[in-house]
Amino acid sequence: MGNSTKTSFKDVLYPFTVWKNILKEPVTIRHPEKREGSDRYRGFHTNDIDKCIGCGTCEEICQNAAIDMVPCEGVDTKPGDSGLRPRVDYGRCCWCALCVDVCTTNSLGMSNNFRWSVEGENRGEGNEANGTPDDYRFIIGAENKYWDKAEKGYKKPDGYDLTPPDRVQMDHLSVEERSDSFIEMMKGYSKEQAKKEADRCVECGICTATCPAHMGIPAYIRAIREDDLEEGLRILYETNPLPEVCGRICTHKCESVCSIGNKGDAVSIRWLKRYIADNVPAEKYKEILGTSDLAKNGKKVAVVGAGPSGLSAAHYLALMGYQVTVFEALPYAGGMMRYGIPEYRLPYDQIDKDINYIVSLGVEIKTNCKVGKEISLEELKRDYDAVFAGTGLHLGRSTRIENSDHKKVFQSIDLLRKITLREEIYVPEKIVVIGGGNVAMDITRSLARIQRQKYGQVDIVTTCLEPADGMLADDEEVDEAKEEGAIITPSYGPQSIEIIDEENVKGLHVAKCLHIFDEEGRFNPAFDMEDSQFYEADMIIESIGQASDISYIPQETQETLEFNPRRQIVADPDYQVKNEPWLFVGGDIAKGPDVITGISTGHLAAVGIDRYLRGDEK
């Protein structure tokens, strides 16, 4: 200390040396400075509200719990969009940008703006300068912040994805291996493949609303990730007692809204469901699902039709203690799953695995027993406490064009049924199919296989009104049909069938379809007759849709039924028929048509029947 008190001459002069800077520009920047953030600065958040689907993945990944998902004015909840939007709390945000990196739609970003102070009317009490902390909590992109339209700032770099954009492909039979065989084409996921695919799911649950049965999709995918297939099976059976079937042929509407499908492939939800069902042995089902010892309640329910809706209703009724008897007109249970969908898409032993489990719950299935013929609906009404009808759409619809009533003009649904029953069917060398839905592809691909077996080559033309990008069939069905040798000619509509004589047809005249629906949205196709074609054929198949056969319902009951414009029976949300409280309907005659909707209606009707028979209020 002693030395430091001694003052030198230099120390006296030193304070004055700074004067030499008096005429220089200051090196510091004056406040308020206008410096812009760098191009990829992680500043205030931006969100394209129209692109965002409210999946909540940003909230999930946020390590500071800074994000809440909240309803947002002007945003509606609809399939594929929760209607929620992220609200961020800048008291917690640490600007790490994980929310931007994980965003499934790329709607979230960050601007390079970093200055924001709340003044004026937002000024909070006791904090006149800066407002209250709540002022710094806002729905990103929805509150007109000055940086909402900023172009610079952090965006997720291209090619950098926390969820891999490509789905795990499933092994399948090559064209050579499958084109003359009815062996199942898709081989199923291995454990490794399934876990890898399950890893792509962000568990947002947006898919659940779109699934007609509202399956617990994120939960069963998590079970795959955790390698707990027993838990996975329990989750499947909460909403769907036909998982082997749906794991193969479901219309998988869920995948069309999958959040990560917004910037890559959707999660392969259907194949993952199949993986669970395929990998739990049938003999363990009762133990896993806890159904070894079901208590009976002494009440009886009749189910008409052993299709998806009837089996679903029977399953859930059996769980609730009802004695269920299913009446099936055909020799085997399964309905359209067996008699509509070809074996190469859905092998019969897989349908049996699902059905046998339902039977094991005490459900009785009477096959070759057609209601309206072997037994009447009145008898069922008399002998049972309630009746569920899920009789489906088993009548083919005709185009009603000239000569469509000819002997060599067939309905696809009749042929598919005969193929299942192993009945001999007429398969000539040249075939034309009219229709562009999945059933049209089913008959096309089935007959192509038989042609290849019989003649060593395929000659099938499948024509439909819809343009190639608007065909009703799944894209993979169309692509695989083409690979197997069928020719698909979209945008052409049938005009007339030319015949040779009573026994033989010559072919089909078609014309270019200009539009299918008129200005009022009604089905009213218009054609350009200048652009017409003629497809030679020995056989013509109509596959333009199906209709129900409800002739088993007595006339006086039919008269009380109401139908919607799609000719579906109108029922209440319990699928109970107005004026006929003992009767419940489901499946394709009430909604849909598709398997998963049938399963859902069967389940809802089962709950409704239980409510009705216990005399509970709705």
Binding site: G54, C62, A65, D68, M69, R92, G205, T208, P218, P573
Partner: protein, 182 residues
Amino acid sequence: MEKVIENVQKKFSLSEVTSAHGYFITCEKKDAVSLVTYLKNVEGFKHLVLITAVDWIKDNKFQLTYLLNNPQMKKELGVRTYIERSVWPEESVMDSAHHLWPAAKTYQRELHEMFGIDFPDSPEVNEPLILEYWDDIPPYRKDFDTKQYSEDTYFPREGRETDDPATYMKEMLYPFEGEKNV
């Protein structure tokens, strides 16, 4: 640079040499400090750019990287080594390099604080660098649960509420059908 690596390989055994994104060589833990000493004194890598670590939790290893700079060559070389990853509260241990570069003590202090890697004899290595009164596991360890810490430490702002997308969609789109799952 190839020449430098050739020289190094004559004296030390390297398990990996990569040049995909700059030059990185990997050596055994026991050789790491001798190797950087050699690079500094003989090969002219006089400047220590940084020392950092990566937690390879599944392999039960910490990867340490000494990034060195040769001002003459205007080249950088990373020296990597793997050390055993301790189970907290036990600390991993590594030899100190502060005698080569005084600045090393600051990086080592940081690694001690953030990863729980101790560098005995390194000056002030037990002093906190930026964390005050830290009583949790070192936060750069991958088993540190950032979200949990955040929830436990910072109180939630009043009036915050959030909706689960799937549940909210059920209420909005199919409230009736939701009952079947009861």
